[in-house]
């Protein structure tokens, strides 16, 4: 997966925030370096849970419980990086 695809992941994540969560924010208002909660977009606890569930569903990935930490939500860029890694792993895993 190349840089363009990471950019696409970022866009998709922003799309999810703007359209699938119950928050009053548009895609244009979401910078790449925005934290998803404290001091950033301010997603509340319920929004965060919904967000994780939707991300897993739309990218067909699963976060390990150890990955559910503040670092994951530091910024859209950080989250896109983790999603990118997981999506790549799925593509690289040969079928049994």
């Amino acid at each position: 997966m190349n840089e363009v695809t990471i950019a696409a992941i970022k866009e998709k994540i922003k799309h999810i925030i703007a359209n699938d969560l119950d928050v009053n924010i548009s895609i244009d208002e979401i910078p790449d370096d925005a934290s998803l909660y404290d001091g950033g977009l301010g997603l509340d606890s319920i929004a965060i849970v919904n967000f994780i569930v939707i991300i897993e569903k739309k990218f067909n990935i699963s976060f390990d419980e150890n990955e559910i930490n503040a670092k994951l939500f530091n910024s859209i860029t950080d989250l896109a990086g983790v999603v990118h890694t997981k999506v790549s792993e799925k593509i690289d895993t040969p079928l049994a």
């Binding site: 965060i48 569930v53 419980e65 503040a70 939500f73």
Partner: protein, 471 residues
């Protein structure tokens, strides 16, 4: 001002056990030195003579020291939720500073500012009376001030310590606000009484909760029904199996069972700001079915009486009753409760035998229909169970001006694009509910009006449900 000796119980804890938050960790062995620092802080400007100190509560380790200090000096204090203005009976407000340095230096970690609403000439509160006050939103959304003698609050906490078996080996995680009776009376105070290791986290963010569980490895976690549902929705195992305590709204049996299967033991706590902890799920009960159905066992030293043959209002006789409500100026509004008197909880329950009982709902949410006691909350719960598109239902009774029996109205919040068919809903209700439970009219809306505590605003809905429908 003479010290009382109440606080010395906290010095009996193993000195290496700790009370911590994300930035600060203090040991019980540090407490005497911290109390000396706090004494210097409060002595400056004669703050020990305050009529009542409002504390803007935060879940941090320092608040544990502050509470113990205020108890030791009999200083009256009110635990004030962060977004609430202090009432006029408080002459000062303690606030924890933002971006405070690590450590427990009180001068750098917090400040006390005067409350300009306070008027010494009219206050009903005398300094150093040993009072602890909570705010309670109640069901009306208007704050009430609930006053305890500090000994009663400690006694209440001791009941919780016994029921939850807090001991020096226990690790207690408290992510619920310690500014409310649940977090303070069932969490921080009893855990401190037991000398337990305690970790406090601010705001019940699910990500922080998972991080805290992983780092702290608690035996007991205080959660809310909302957190329980979020954990189930997230569907990730937690780092360690813990006992979770929950309080607030009743958790549905299916949700309760799912939670126990996935995360371990869940204990439902029943209580109120006025009475503190009253009862819990039977902690030794291995039959998860009866636990999940909401069976409750009174706490030690608490007696329960059902005002009726099988079901009726719960009357509670507590060894640690509250002192009374106080008004904006600190005058006690209601006669102080006595340990020998029965307190009306305004909740309705049924007797399930063996001294256990089960909550049916609020008394003012129960109605009499043709001689049958009908719980509106039970109807709401059934509607939400039967129809998955209904995310929240509120049912109320309206007078029928035509002299007929009163109408039962159901206002339902629906998340799906299309509203359900009234006839289909009613027909299903007739099959699944008793005749007296079936609402006469259904109204479907997109967003339920709610109070600031997240509960539906019943008064607003009763007055405006037809208008909401038109919008």
């Amino acid at each position: 001002m003479s010290d009382n000796r109440l606080h010395t119980v906290f010095f009996d804890a193993p000195p290496h056990n700790r009370i911590g938050d994300k930035d600060v960790s203090i040991s019980y062995g540090d407490l005497p030195a911290i109390l000396l620092q706090l004494d210097a802080f409060f002595s400056a400007g004669h703050k020990r003579q305050l009529h009542c100190l409002a504390i803007r509560t935060e879940n941090n380790a320092l608040i544990a020291g502050v509470i113990i200090y205020l108890l030791s000096k009999n200083i009256n204090f009110l635990l004030l939720p962060v977004n609430q203005a202090p009432p006029a009976f408080c002459d000062a407000v303690l606030t924890f500073r933002d971006n405070r340095p690590a450590g427990v230096d009180p001068h750098r970690s917090m400040e006390i500012l005067p409350n300009h609403l306070f008027n010494k000439a009219v206050t009903g509160m005398q300094p150093a009376s040993g009072l602890v006050l909570f705010t309670s939103s109640g069901t009306s959304g208007r704050p009430k001030y609930v006053c305890f003698q500090q000994q009663q609050l400690i006694r209440n906490a001791a009941n919780c310590r016994e029921r939850f078996r807090y001991n020096p080996d226990t690790k207690v995680l408290i992510p619920v606000p310690v500014g409310h009776m649940y977090g303070m009376g069932a969490g921080l105070l009893p855990a401190m009484l037991a000398g337990a290791n305690i970790f406090l986290t601010d705001r019940s963010n699910i990500v922080k909760l998972y991080e805290s569980i992983k780092q702290f490895q608690p035996d007991i976690v205080l959660i809310t029904p909302v957190i329980a549902r979020m954990m189930l929705l997230l569907d990730k195992p937690v780092a360690v199996k813990t006992t979770c305590i929950t309080a607030g709204e009743i958790i549905k049996p299916e949700t309760f069972k799912q939670f126990e299967n996935k995360f371990g033991c869940l204990i439902n706590l029943y209580g109120s700001t006025e009475q503190g902890a009253i009862a819990t799920s039977p902690v030794d009960e291995t039959d998860s079915v009866s636990k999940s159905e909401g069976i409750l066992q009174p706490l030690p030293q608490v007696a329960i009486k059902i005002d009726g043959e099988e079901k009726g209002e719960i009357l509670c006789r507590h060894n640690a009753p509250f002192h009374g409500y106080v008004d904006e100026h600190g005058y006690v509004l209601a006669a102080p409760a006595e340990a020998t008197s029965w307190y009306s909880t305004s909740d309705v329950a049924c007797d399930t035998g063996n001294g256990y009982f089960k909550i049916m709902g609020r008394k003012d949410n129960c109605i009499n229909r043709s001689g049958f006691l009908v719980s509106l909350e039970k109807i709401e719960e059934t509607l939400e169970d039967l129809f998955k598109m209904i995310s929240k239902a509120v049912v109320f009774e309206l007078d029928n001006n035509r002299g007929l029996s009163n109408r039962l109205i159901a206002v339902c919040e629906v998340q799906e694009d299309d509203f359900p068919d009234h006839l289909h809903i009613k027909e299903t209700c007739r099959l699944q509910m008793t005749r007296h439970q079936v609402p006469d009219e259904f109204y479907f809306i997109r967003n339920m009006a709610r109070l600031h505590n997240g509960k539906p605003d019943r008064q607003f809905l009763m007055q405006h449900y037809q208008t909401l429908l038109k919008n």
